[in-house]
């Protein structure tokens, strides 16, 4: 595929994620469960996923929709999961907060902040010891808030000392639920904490999908070549609230204005127009395709049945007789 087509595909994925999450916001207003949206951070997911391969493993957290969609998740099954329906990726048991999709290589999602960091070294260790697909690496997505948890320090030390094929991807979006990053740490950068562990660290504009993909590709190539971990800090911003509904009354309006002007979709659209790769017609086509897929997904999800009560205990233990 040509570079131009690649760029257009990336743009379409950005728009798909945005539309998917806005659809869930709309459904929430109608009574569906809330979600943690990644509006404003889509370029982080799309850029990093473009640098990963099928043999790689991904761990994510409560804000996972962008990661899952960029990895190719089925929108209908995702939405069904959020609505707690039987066709969801986890049969409705997870809801939006801990969606894993093993067949996509998106494993062990935890909504405990830091939970993904706690399990990621084990996934990478299995790869190092040959339990996974040859040459596979692990990428773990987490936030600036997770970097404040002690497990961040423990995971970095273990990954560096054991030389695990692990890519740390920190989406520093300035927010930790209702608390601004500046209220939780003296420094603006997570990178300095990571650098203290002596691994290669790169800080990138997380709203520039091309820059993210390039940096991720460099890191992934390096990990595959020497097996040592790398750290990527993606500087981005959470444009919507923490968990829907959220009126963002606690957010400085000026900060929002500043970052809305840096909306990753806006930046990419402008870039592609300037490059003559995209025009109004092209954009309309993308938007039409996206809208159609979202509607189809919503219909699928809402048509999906509720799980049977038996699902409550069906998967707690491996064998039935194991349950007391």
């Amino acid at each position: 595929m040509s570079a131009a087509d690649e760029s257009l595909r990336r743009l379409e994925t950005l728009c798909l994620i945005r539309a998917y999450e806005e659809k869930l916001v709309e459904l929430q207003r109608g009574g569906a469960p809330g979600t943690c949206t990644s509006v404003g951070q889509e370029a982080c997911a799309v850029g990093v996923m473009a640098a990963l391969e099928a043999r790689d493993r991904i761990l994510t957290n409560h804000r996972s929709a962008a990661h899952l969609i960029a990895r190719g998740a089925d929108l209908g099954r995702l939405m069904a999961e959020v609505l707690g329906r039987v066709d969801g990726y986890c049969g409705g048991l997870s809801g939006s907060l801990h969606i894993s999709a093993k067949d996509l290589g998106v494993v062990l999602t935890s909504t405990i902040v830091g939970g993904e960091l706690s399990m990621a070294p084990g996934v990478a260790l299995a790869q190092k010891l040959g339990a996974g697909e040859p040459g596979g690496i692990t990428a773990v997505f987490f936030g600036d808030g997770a970097a404040c948890e002690g497990i961040f320090h423990e995971a970095l030390n273990l990954a560096v000392h054991w030389r695990l094929p692990l890519l740390f991807v920190c989406e520093n979006n300035d927010w930790q639920a209702l608390v601004h990053r500046r209220e939780t740490m003296a420094d603006r950068a997570i990178a300095h904490w990571a650098a203290g562990h002596g691994l290669a660290v790169e800080t990138v504009d997380g709203n520039d999908v091309g820059a993210v993909e390039a940096a991720a590709a460099r890191a992934v190539t390096a990990i595959r070549s020497d097996g040592a971990p790398r750290f990527l800090e993606l500087v981005t911003y959470r444009l919507r609230g923490h968990y829907e509904p959220d009126d963002q009354a606690y957010v400085d309006p000026a900060e929002l204005v500043h970052w809305r002007a840096r909306d990753p979709i806006l930046l990419e659209t402008t870039r592609l127009r300037a490059a003559g790769v995209l025009d109004d017609a092209g954009l309309r086509q993308i938007e039409a395709r996206v809208a159609a897929r979202i509607e189809a997904a919503a219909h699928f999800a809402e048509a999906s049945a509720w799980p049977e009560p038996a699902a409550l205990t069906a998967h707690v233990y491996a064998r039935e007789e194991a349950t007391p």
């Binding site: 409705g92 048991l93 405990i112 830091g114 948890e149 608390v179 939780t184 799980p307 699902a311 409550l312």
Partner: protein
């Protein structure tokens, strides 16, 4: 008396105790964001947003408590207490005794749990029994707005560490709350409904479940007594035993799972200290030994419902009739 929600009652108790005692301070991820008025009244020094680091937040509260302050620490959701277990179980619960009584730990830890929000098992886990089992800790889990206020004030004034659980299904429930000085002693249960035929023991959300069941049973001529434990440690064993002595029948209803849960403790109490009063087997109606699911239908299926309680009690009487 003022009509208010559980959420408002908790807030009022915090405000009154911070007013009353300058040693009281509030720590936690988002407390300053959520309680802006307390920041305004008592200053940013006493109402502190924290980094996302439950272990150090709890540990800091423990250290401050032993050094002359009276911290209230909000750790948000009960599953997050797993990050604070060393501070609570090994430090706050043990160092008073291990030091030969040199230190006091007047500390309140807040956490929410329970069904109602479809957030799944990493936000909803009724693990209060773990803290009942741990030495040196007290555990509170009220069911009415008035008790939330009265027990919160008592917990803050208590010289021992108290883990204070809020059933999030009750947060927006309204009730009459006494204005100003209203304290409810720790370790005192409340008889929510007097009855002669059967004792229903519950706490938090299931108190309402039992009251609803009792109404249904009344129409069958079964007169149920409903006891709200309110404090899980120290347990008000006298009230439970007195009721069993009167009714001869015990049904324990909890949202938490039964294995080594508070329901087990109450049943054990009957078996060890009221055996000759029991005219029928003790019944435990509890949540399953399974992680809380997100899907609405499953979340409902995981909590004992009024019909199930009423039916169980009816079967109890039927069986006994059969036996007799």
């Amino acid at each position: 008396m003022t009509r208010m929600t559980v959420e408002q009652a908790i807030h009022q108790a915090l405000a009154e105790e911070m007013q009353r005692d300058p040693r009281v301070l509030l720590l936690g991820e988002g407390v300053a964001t959520k309680h802006r008025d307390l920041v305004a009244s008592f200053g940013a020094g006493r109402v502190r947003n924290t980094p996302l680091a439950e272990a150090i937040v709890a540990g800091t509260a423990v250290g401050a408590a032993a050094s002359g302050l009276r911290p209230v620490v909000d750790l948000l959701f009960a599953p997050f207490l797993t990050y604070a277990m060393d501070a609570l179980v090994n430090s706050a619960g043990k160092l008073r005794a291990l030091s030969g009584g040199q230190f006091e730990f007047p500390l309140v830890t807040l956490a929410m749990t329970g069904s109602g929000w479809c957030v799944g098992a990493q936000h909803n886990h009724n693990l209060e029994a773990m803290f009942v089992h741990a030495p040196g800790l007290k555990v509170v889990m009220p069911s009415t707005p008035a008790d939330f206020k009265g027990l919160m004030k008592t917990a803050i004034r208590d010289a021992d560490p108290v883990v204070f659980f809020t059933d999030l299904g009750l947060l927006h429930q309204e009730g009459e709350v006494p204005d100003g000085e209203h304290v409810v002693p720790l370790g005192r249960a409340a008889v929510r409904r007097a009855g002669r035929d059967v004792t229903l023991v519950a706490y938090a959300k299931t108190v309402g479940v039992c009251l609803a069941a009792a109404d249904a049973l009344a129409s069958d001529g079964i007169d149920a007594e409903v006891i709200d434990l309110r404090t899980l440690k120290p347990l008000d064993t006298d009230s439970v035993l007195a009721s069993i002595a009167k009714t001869g029948r015990l049904v324990v209803v909890t949202e938490a799972s039964g294995l080594c849960g508070v329901a087990a403790e109450i049943a054990a109490l009957a078996a060890t200290r009221a055996l000759h009063r029991l005219r029928a087997p003790v019944l435990r109606l509890t949540g399953p030994d399974a992680p809380a699911p997100a899907s609405w239908v499953l979340e409902q299926a995981a909590v004992p419902q009024p019909d199930a309680v009423a039916d169980a009690v009816r079967r109890l009487f039927a069986e006994v009739a059969a036996v007799a």
